[in-house]
């Protein structure tokens, strides 16, 4: 039963080859096998959004994908957002400046969702941002500051400020 499978996966530009049990989901694989604990696991049934990451260019829930399904894929996690010299991504900076996080549990999912969303919708307005974040739950009731952070980062990413 449940024979292990070999997979090769590129995470934040680094290639990894490993053996995984088919039932291990992608989020668990990152955390337990690669020690990339920046991807947070909340509900593990696709509702809370904390485990969101970029899979072949698109935002996905890493708890709803099996690690074996990611064989050959390119993945970006929160650990891949800052530049190698430590310079934070505009979204990370904006969350820092506008108090976009309190406990920080939902933050990686918020940021990875927004990276994907703003790439496709650079001129998103507040209503768009709220809809885009409807699949990410914050339990510190910090949505006002999160939306403010997102709008501010969007401006920077469009090259208007910052």
């Amino acid at each position: 039963m449940s024979e292990k499978k070999s997979i090769t996966i590129k995470v934040n530009g680094i290639s990894h080859s490993l053996e995984v049990e088919p039932r291990m989901h992608l989020g668990d694989m990152l955390r337990l096998e690669l020690n990339l604990t920046g991807t947070h696991l909340g509900c593990e049934h696709g509702v809370c959004g904390a485990c969101t990451l970029i899979f072949n260019g698109e935002a996905v829930r890493s708890c709803l994908m099996l690690a074996v399904q990611a064989d050959g894929a390119e993945i970006t996690t929160i650990e891949g957002m800052a530049l190698p010299d430590g310079t934070l991504h505009p979204l990370q900076l904006a969350f820092h400046e506008h108090h976009g996080l309190q406990c920080g549990f939902c933050t990686p999912g918020m940021i990875m969702s927004l990276v994907a969303y703003l790439q496709d919708n650079p001129s998103a307005d507040e209503a768009n941002i709220r809809e885009a974040l409807s699949g990410n739950i914050c339990r510190c009731t910090g949505y006002q500051a999160i939306v403010k952070s997102a709008l501010s980062a969007a401006e920077v990413m469009r090259g208007e400020t910052g």
Binding site: M1, S2, E3, K5, E21, P22, R23, M24, H25, D28, E44, H45, G46, V47, G49, T52, F55, E58, A59, V60, R61, C63, L64, M65, L66, V68, Q69, S113, A116, Y117, E131, A132, S134, G135
Partner: protein, 291 residues
Amino acid sequence: MKSAQFDYHKPKNLNEAIALLGRLEDAKLLAGGQSLVPMMNMRFVQPAHVIDVNGIAGLTQMSADVSSVTIGAMVRQAELLRSKVIARDLPVMAEALRCVGHFQTRSRGTIGGSLCHLDPSAELAVVAALYDAEISVQGPGGERVIAFPQWPLAYMMPSVRPDEIATKISFPLWSDPPGYSFVEFARRHGDFAIVAAACLINLDSSGIITKCSLSIGGADQIVHRLGNVETSIIGHLANEEIFEFAGDLAGNMDTMDDAYVSGAYRKRLVRVLCRRVLKKAVERTKSGGQA
């Protein structure tokens, strides 16, 4: 580790997948995984075998001609939402897709997965009912084509045999492009709808309803077409009075109770949403309902 143990299979083509389905006991097909994986994570389902159909070429094509749009079962919801063909020929599907989960789940979720999972609130099932879509399934005996009225057998139970796999869904287009609308009521954006309604409508030059399709999801165990409402309003002038009448008639349908929402509340939603969806569809006809 959330899911129970299973064996993982990744067939390269349809024949291999069908052979696996025939050979393996207790196997589940894995499409986008946005419903199956949560159910496995919560151990509501514990299949012995998971057959991942993501590697099968030929299930991800889309084609369109003057009379229909055909969508491969493994076309992702996000791709449908980006598609110019869908925006042009099936705008009501695009409207419905914006309510399907979140963009982070639409990136994986597929149309075939949604129709085979067959949650009665699923927006894509409501659209399939609206068009009498035809679902092609492939099994050891070849292909069968099932029209949507025959697709749901019971709650979350599509008319697909254990050794068959859905391959494509065909949406017959109306000869006269209809006014359209999709509306739903949910607690939060992206949640499953408590009730969803969709409508297609044609009017003649004097504003009389000549053709109408109305479908309802979430209200009952399966998605329904409201044939009685459709026939009762055809031949009438599309005005507020007829929207009220249609809503009241629709509100008589059987509705289900569950732990969160009563059948009576669902009936009320059916009434209100039918009225709204008709009105909006009429506004989007060429004449805008102004005779």
